[in-house]
Structure formats: structure tokens, C-alpha cells
Amino acid sequence: MADRNLVAGSCLAVFGALFAVGSYLVLNNVPLTALGMGLAVLGVAWALVPPNPLPREVVANLVKSSCDNIEALLEALGATERAIYLPANPHRRVVAYVPLKRAGEATLSEVVERSGRVVFRRGGSLGVIVAPPTIAAFNPSPMSERSLDALIEQALVESEIASSARAVQVGDSVVVSVRGPRVDVDSSRFKAVMGSLPACMAAQAVAWALSKPVRVVDEEREGDNLIVRLRVLDWTDKSCT
């Protein structure tokens, strides 16, 4: 199916440009020339805006069903520990490591090396690696090397999870202020382990931006705002495994 925005925007831009040229050369009329230029600008702006591939409700339902699957897995495994979000560069995605038994016998870098597997075991350390609802699902462009704010923006605002979001980094802590979260899940186990959906998204964005493991420390609701506190971990950290 042809892209409606691209076709309509291009038509308007071409019409505006021809109108502007005609008005300037033939009529020598500046306001009509400006009108043509305005139409051309509007047309190009329209063509640059991508169409929404799926309605917001459908996206929300897809995310929720994905969270339900993770919830079922966590429930079956009896997971209670907070997940650690690990940027897995070879796969250009962020995975979540959920510790089931902690023995401190593996570093987080060893965990991420096995991010293609579901179960991670090293000595007494046992955990599962799950794929959290990812940012790339909401945006056609893959996550690239971008700033923390840009990734937080893409993860939460452009994906319509929240109306705005800001991140402040102080040492090994990152505080993300999410205003007007629109989509969340009710699954209690998912929330206890992975964090709420906005926190999960924010943790992925921060992990990707800093290329370091990240854990959701706590979340606090203040009216329409959600304050998410994240802790940035070292790759050599063994206390979480």
C-alpha cells in the first residue's frame, strides 16, 4: 500500500512549488508566491511525517500481551529479584537478566556473552535472560548511538508510552522523571521484577545510552508523574549474579 503521507505531501509540495514559480514569474505577485512556498513547506513537512503503522491501542495491547508472557515465565520460575538490563551489542538490543539464585560467581559481562540463551548458570549463580518489551518495536529506526536524553525521548515519548520524560545522571544513579505515563501493565510479578512499563523502557534506554548494566532501584508516583530511580552497574559486578 502506498504511503498516504508521502504521496499527499509530495503532491502538495510539487503543487506549491509550481504555484510559487508561476506566481513569481508570470504574475509577479509576492503574496501568492509566498503562499506557494508555504504550501511547498507544508507538503514537505507532511511527507516527512511517517504514518502510524498501528493504532496506539493495538500497540498497547501487543506490549501488554508481551508483558503477560514474561509475567507467566517469572511466576513459573518464582523470580523475585530485580532484573538487570544489559545492552547486548552483537544483537543490537537490550536483554534483562533475572537472577534466580545469587552466588556471586559470574560477572555481568559473562552473562551478556550468553545473551542468546534463556538460562544462565555459572557455579551457584542461576538466572534467566528475557527479552523485555523493546523500544525498537515502536520505531522503525533501530536504536543507534545517541545521547541519553534522545534515547529516553525515543523510548518513552515517541513510542507514546508517556507525554514527556527527562533524565538526570548523578554518579552511578540516573533519575528519570516520566510525566503522564499512558501505557502500563497490571501484572504484579512483572512490576516487581522488571519494573513498571515506563521504568522498563527507561532502563533499556539508559543501559543502551551508557553501554552499562542498569537496574531499576525504585519508582515513586507523584500525581501524574512517575519518578524512576536507576542504578548503573559495572560489567565486573558480581553481587547481582
Binding site: 509576492v30 509566498a34 508555504g38 513547506v41 511525517v49
Partner: protein, 81 residues
């Protein structure tokens, strides 16, 4: 309303108002129209921050046009006899 729709509607409104008001004031300099439309575009883009399918070459084009207009004006002032 969808943010993208709101952005396009606002931009259309701003451009219409720009052209209407300036032509009502009998403005005959095209660079004034271009400058105000550039401003309108950047204001609408900054407020709504719409998703773009590619890099914003329209912003670059408008900024270049605006810079050219400003440069010409500055040169006019400097080299005014």
C-alpha cells in the same frame, strides 16, 4: 488528537496566518515571508517534536534561506553608501 496531526494542523495554521497578515499589511518583500515561515516551522517543530522518517532536510533548507536573507541584510547595512 494525534501529535503528528496536531503538528501539521498547527503548521498549516501558522503559514496561513503569516501569509494572510503580511499580505494584508501590503508586504512586498519575499524575504520577510520566508523568514517568518522559517520561524513558524521551527516553532511548530520545537513544540510538537514530530517523528520524522529521515533527517530534517527541510529545516536545513529553511535555515539556509534564512541565513542568506540575514547575510544579505547585514551586507546591505555594512556597505550602505
Amino acid at each position: 488528537m494525534d501529535r503528528q496531526v496536531l503538528y501539521l494542523t498547527t503548521l498549516a495554521l501558522l503559514i496561513t496566518i503569516t501569509v494572510s497578515v503580511l499580505s494584508a499589511l501590503s508586504e512586498s518583500r519575499l524575504d520577510v515571508y520566508v523568514s517568518v515561515m522559517t520561524l513558524a516551522y521551527f516553532v511548530a517543530t520545537a513544540i510538537f517534536r514530530p517523528r520524522k522518517r529521515t533527517w530534517d532536510f527541510l529545516a536545513l533548507a529553511l535555515l539556509t534561506a534564512f541565513a542568506y536573507v540575514v547575510a544579505v541584510k547585514i551586507l546591505e547595512i555594512i556597505f550602505k553608501p
